[in-house]
Amino acid sequence: MPRISLKIVGASGQGINSIGAIIAKGLKRSGYCVFGYREYPSLIKGGHASYQLDVSNERICSTETKVNVLVALNHHGLELNMDELKQGGIVLHVTPGWQFPEHHQKLIAERSLRVIYFPVDDILNRLSAREILSNVLLTAFVWSMLDQDMDALKSLVGEKFAKKKALLDLNMRCIEEGYSFVDPEQGTISVALPPPDGAFASHLLITGSQAMGLGSVHAGVRLYAGYPMTPSSPLLSFIAELENKTHMVVKQAEDEITAAQIVSGAMYMGTRALTATSGVGFDLMSETLSLNAMIENPTVFVLAQRPGPATGLPTWTAQGGLLQAANCSAGEFTRCVIAVSSSQDAFDLMPVAFNLAEQYQISVVVLTDKQIAEALYTQHPYDLEKADIDRGRLVVDPEKLKALKSSDRFNPHAEGGVSLRWLPGSDAATYCAQADEHNAMGAVDESCFNTKLQMEKRLRKFHGLKAGLPAPRLHIGGRNTKTTDWIDTGDEIELLAIGWGSTGDVFQDVMCSDELRERKIAYLHYTYLWPLRTEELRRLAMRSKRIVLVEQNYQGQLGMLIRMECGLDIWDKILKYDGRPFFYDELLSSVMERCASTAETEQNVPDFVYAGTPS
């Protein structure tokens, strides 16, 4: 797969995001798949931030550590990011008279880098334009380096300023100036992109948070309550931006407890409502998770992960929240934990999460992370016909409502533990959603007989839920296959990797690499993390020469759950816990190391050794 990467670096607030976003959109419209990745510290102005675009004419959803083009909006970029350039790379900077230190001069020579000084201040002065327009100048120059059509950029920028004529004219002049700039030393510079694929032009450029927001609206969410905390805040912001279109109730709550309670009250009343938070914010919501278990109130919580403990690394990524989601909160109860992995399932899984919550009258925790929440994906427009709205055993028919008894609500003998549910305001017998242990109608009942019966009712749901959850998705050498079709047939698997969340996309890019395209590598992706299905994994493990766990946490939390559920101990782990996502080239080399050592093992040990022993 051909890949080109372009990285814009500078201080937060300098406009790296606006340059990145415009180039990304322009390239997508020209027929490229773009994957955008942001790094930034937790502050508003200053610091050192970056926006990287990885571009291909095939589907791409990962970031490389090495780049073809570095755009440095200040000299810190020249100090900090030079090592990241590939052979023949381009450095574009705006710092007048910059003298590279000796080791960088050596690097420039070794890697045949081309350095371009773009005299942004001179051009601004000439045009009597304010400093803010330097971003337009730079964007236009980068656009010309990419051999893209100037008019396409003009129409893109023009959309923003359609109603401000004076501003529009100045922007257009800046585009012309920037586009036509030629560096006197380097001459005309061109970055070769592969031939475009027009299909991408109609795609969306979307963050995981936006995808999740659209998925929520699609799923019928009518009330959103949240408290700002990165990386869940972009979802709150996006839902709020849409409120005049969706006519939803949006509430910025006074804390996470409030947000969770508002949402729970709204779900009890019978709408679909959502909240999202991160790390310690979810700690505050966990008492409400326990409450909803007892009153059998369907609820959905989004847990957007970032590295902890405590406030940790607010603007960086991690997958450290799996055990938190699966185990937090008082008492034993049935819950479901699922994880999104891309802009596709961030959308698709929201109706699924609400359906599961209502079918089983449980809480569903949807895991995402900073990488998914803020990465920019090139996304095929969503299929708006495939999702169902399944409200489970909700009674709404007036005749059926009339026939209800109060004791139907928490009937301990209900099939699968899922009793009938009906909504306040329905003309029917009433009940109490009771947080104390209660009988079938919600009256407090602490008798041993009732306690046992109700406990068993609530926990019985676990079995139905587990049996109904889809199997983990199996990907083989970049080709997506139905797990069931493939699981018992075919040859030995050279390497079986297991992962979840944002790891999945990067791993798929790695499997599509030229280096690994024909290898017998399988990747098993867990979307449904609790309850955890392990039968497919155990069968695949039997046929795999080597198994590796790939996670962005220190302990290998999915591995811990797997071991707890089926005894399979995956000793080989590719773990990352430095706040950064898996990068394409980094993960590729980790996987290749394992493939190489698998081959060695084969030569040295004639009898094939299983990596794990299923119990």
Binding site: S202, H203, L204, L205, Q210, H218, A219, G220, R222, L223, A225, E243, N244, K245, T246, H247, M248, V249, V250, A253, E254, I257, T258, Q261, I262, V263, S264, G265, A266, Y268, M269, G270, T271, R272, A273, E287, T288, L291, P381, Y382, L384, D388, I389, R391, L423, P424, G425, D427, A428, A429, T430, C432, A433, Q434, A435, D436, M441, G442, A443, V444
Partner: protein, 289 residues
């Protein structure tokens, strides 16, 4: 009184409050108010916090919720915002409301959610066996504070009035007629109705007893108090040393409630509950292409 309707609120669950507990009176007045407003149990949502009052959650009919300590206001607000057609009444004790849930109370009043909040004020944590609440008088020996509590007593009505409330009332558990009048007005009030019910706790509160309250309370409205008068209302509410003013102390009907202030909900006749369906979101992604 609609006797037929009254019987709809009867339950088989027996009351388990102490003899002489103020909860009996408040419980009775709540039922009277609902019946006099001609509301059937299926038409109302009653949300209970944790405490002795919360043990009443299964002693009345209606769609009820009994939740976690201090959290009843946001739960009730969420329920109401989801279905504006159902009257929502939340109940909480002085322990939960002015300690664990004080943030929720402050933002509940500030947000002017269209709900009624009934404060069961027995001036202590009854259900956890008589600890001091933040409304217990300073120096009063209580369970866990044998030498009296060192903290200041929280000036609850000063706090409420500092938040620009739209409805403040006070009742006394010994006067069911007065409580019924207050509760009816509160339920019909446009925004957040804060109703304090002074009540005896015969087991743990030996300072503000039923007799103590009976001797001091009076119906300020009967004395000619105009609920529009903010200054007088605040003075009546906070000055409780000799006599305790009850009745509807303050009311503003011209202040829009939270839902009224939501721009996206203007002109929408349906409720969030009725609006649950699959939505076509292609309009929302146009700018992303």
């Amino acid at each position: 009184m609609n006797i037929a309707l009254q019987t709809e609120y009867y339950t088989e669950t027996k009351c388990i409050w102490c003899d002489g507990c103020g909860n009996y009176g408040i419980w009775t007045a709540v039922k009277y108010a609902l019946v006099e407003l001609n509301l059937h149990p299926w038409q109302v949502c009653l949300c209970y916090d944790v405490g002795c009052h919360g043990n009443g959650s299964d002693k009345i009919e209606g769609y009820r919720f009994h939740g976690l300590h201090g959290r009843v206001i946001p739960f009730a607000a969420g329920a109401k915002l989801a279905n504006m057609k159902v009257p929502v009444i939340a109940f909480g004790g002085d322990g939960a409301t002015f300690s664990e849930g004080i943030g929720h109370l402050i933002h509940g009043v500030r947000s002017n959610y269209p709900i009624t909040f009934v404060l069961h004020n027995n001036t202590n944590y009854g259900l956890t066996t008589g600890q001091a609440s933040s409304l217990t008088p300073q120096g009063q020996p209580m369970n866990t504070s044998p030498n009296g509590i060192p903290e200041h007593t929280l000036a609850s009505m000063d706090l409420i009035f500092s938040l620009n409330p739209s409805f403040v009332a006070r009742g006394f558990s010994g006067d069911i007629k007065l409580m019924t009048r207050i509760l009816k007005a509160a339920i019909q009030h446009r925004g957040f109705a804060f109703v304090e019910m002074l009540q005896a706790c015969p087991t743990y509160n030996h300072f503000a007893t039923h007799e103590y309250l009976l001797d001091r309370y009076f119906d300020a409205n009967a004395d000619g108090h105009d609920p529009c008068d903010l200054q007088q209302a605040r003075a009546l509410a906070t000055n409780v040393h000799d006599r305790i003013a009850c009745g509807i102390l303050y009311q503003r009907e011209d202040i829009p409630h939270f839902h009224d202030r939501l721009v996206p909900r203007q002109g929408i006749e349906t409720t969030c509950v009725e609006e649950v369906r699959r939505y076509d979101v292609s309009e929302c992604w146009k700018e992303l292409v």
